[in-house]
Amino acid sequence: MSGLIREIRFLASDRAALLWLGIALLVACVSVILGLREIAAQRAVLNDLIEIDYAEREVLDTLYQDWGDVAYYTFHLTWDSPSDFAFAALGQRDTSPWKHQIRALALEGQIYETDAENPDFALIGRFDFAFAANLLAPLLLILLLHDLRSAERTAGRYELLSATAASRGSPWFARAALRTGALALCLIGPLWAGGLPGGAGASTLILASLVVILHIAFWWSVCVLVDRYGWTSPVNLTALVGAWLALAVIVPAAIKISVEAAVPLPDGGEILLTQREAVNDAWDLPKAATMEPFIERHPEWADYTEVGQPFEWKWYYAFQQVGDQTVEPLSQAYHDGRIGRDRLVGSLAWLSPPALAERAMQALADTNVAATLAYEQRVRAFHKALREYYYPRLFRGEPVSTASLEQRPQFQGNES
């Protein structure tokens, strides 16, 4: 116990160590505050949009007397609300859409649109807790630990300290453990302080803290490993920063390149072009060429396929659906490819602890690729519900009425 108190006193008098710990604390606090603010801003935007979207539909509902027009002009907002832990790892919310407007036309032409933020900012990245804990913290730990032994060696006290210590290596271990623990506390403290009032569950916070601790412990072991060689402080630091560069930057970049090469995706442009050709060709084809594949999917409308006029709305929406059906294989391959890439990255990320920690936090925050894909599936499901709402009205030629409009599906958010 007295040893621990001695080490704490020692740490308290080491100004460099206090500086690095102070930076860690500051960075963690700032990242948590910024993350919470960003999530609050996203929630505010969504609340605004949901309101505007609703008001907009109320206006539209009075304008059209034909179901074809209603379906053509009415957009529906869909959204993916941030989880209560999203503040810690903004993840995919930075580059992938979390709000999307769709209407009952062919979905493949709409679903890939991105309502992106300023691309300059997506390029640089956001200052979230995951960034502080996964990229900055290892560097700070390296700065804290790289000269524990070597500094004493340079100062000529090493032999004396080693000889007088109760057991070999123990003062170093206690000193390193104290610094590592202090760094972990500087990170986890702000996370809890921001997360608990922000509504994040304790279990999520415990898991996230565990991720932080394991990740920091990994870097401690790297420091121990390098320390064994008995180099001078500058060489230690160079080697450790080199290790950081390799594990946090180069290995992830290499994984990214190899995964993207190993799991090719169908070209996005091809999906759009195929879809557009299918939809537009329908205008010049006999009506049966549209209605037949449509009926395969929707046999319930088999008795209503007679299209007498050159233009009828039911035929128009049928070929929108057939357009989607035509690109289904491509679209499915695009979806599967993204899952495949993500799975492969998930296994390879074991080669880079910082990437692994980042992915773990994104998973806890529901801001990972899986969450983005899940949102896309929710949009698809909602679009399907819209179609199923409009088809009976279009095919039976029902009149537009307020009562009928009230039955139209509303997008349900994922708020808990």
Partner: protein, 478 residues
Amino acid sequence: MSKVLSIAREESRLWLRSRLALFTLLIFTVLLAAVSIATSLRMSEEHRERSEQQALAEETFLSQPDRHPHRMVHYGHYVFRTPPPLAMIDPGVDSFTGQSIFLEAHRQNSAMFADARSGAELGGFQGLTAALVYQLFVPLLLIAIGHGVFIREREENTLAPLLAQGVTGNELYAGKWVAMAGVTLALLLPLAMVSAAAVVRGEALLASFGVMGLYALYLFVWCGVILLVSAMVRSRALSLGILALFWLASALIVPRMAVESAVSAVPAPGKIETDLRMQAELREVGDGHNAGAPQFQQLRANLLIQYDVERVEDLPVNFRGVVSEVAEADVTEVMNRFAEERMDLEVRQARFAESFGWLSPVVAVSAGSRALSGTDLATHHRFLREAEDVRFDFVQGLNRVHVEQLDYTDDINRSLNEEANRRTRMSAENWNVLDEFSFQPAAADQRLARAGAPLGMLSAWLLLLTAGGIRAARRMQP
């Protein structure tokens, strides 16, 4: 002068003898070469692919059969943003903006299929590019080999003899500077090669030299920081600590803080929000599909007077086409106004973030690099504007066909039967109203002008640091 050179020679001789220095240099050279080649290959492949897709999109549009012209404005067209040659160094916002836009009547779509959305996700730095390595990691190498350039003289007790021989502080600084600058220039070789390759691919010499100059200036700033710190402190550990802190702040923390500050200082609404707010104004313009809408009554009356006829059917032009044309122009005016507002906000955000270049040379160099490479926000906006011009031109070209060549009576009766429908199909020869599109970034001098602010910041950094370093070197005591 000879003293300066011999100090520099001595320094490089020591580096060559130090295994650590040689080892780190070697690793970085391999890294730089590998990343430069990888970035170059990826961007040239992108260039080839998108050019092909652009040609294909044009061919497809032109080969459409005879149709009602309004069908063609909804059939639409695609434009692709081909990356400029210098994207081989700095792909910039390329993978975040989406590379193609679908152009159609009455709508401004956003760019789709950003690479970042389908890429592998590992957090941290999104992909390693030559630009990123130069901006973030080459400074680390310079710190590793340069943090002790002055301190070494103290440690080895060579400072006193040097000063006693009459070497002035200026000469000492100059010697060390030459040594550091030599390493820097050697590290710039891979960049020079890619820049040369970009010139071969059609990039302006001015832009290529600009990029080289920018990065040289930037790395000299780091040399200046390293020399200053090394001259001011007495221990290697302290020198390394200060430099590491400076790197941590300027490479990792300040850029992201710049983003966060810009987001809160200049809030910009997203596209959906803008679109939704725009709807009310668009409704006032009226729906161009509905020639009977009240918004077009005045137009109808004016036309009847102008041509001195009683009925719309007697007009020498197709009234439905006229409505389409007028509505398109009005709708476009509204959409452009909102789009310009949005772009203006984004530019202001970017400029706000760029001003953090006064705090961190990394922010300055990355803004300058994107501007010179033609992969910055302004270039993306240029693409959006050019795409909009193409959109408006082909839509209005087709509306003109609708106005002049399509008979009004045929037009309103087109849904009666197949025969009437056939009469409204215009010859496919009309589809060549579509212009060829090949996206080019702004001229080199314009890009250089955009990089002016970052270049100025880096020059100021360099001047201050050099002055400070010389002052510190002059005050050096053994």
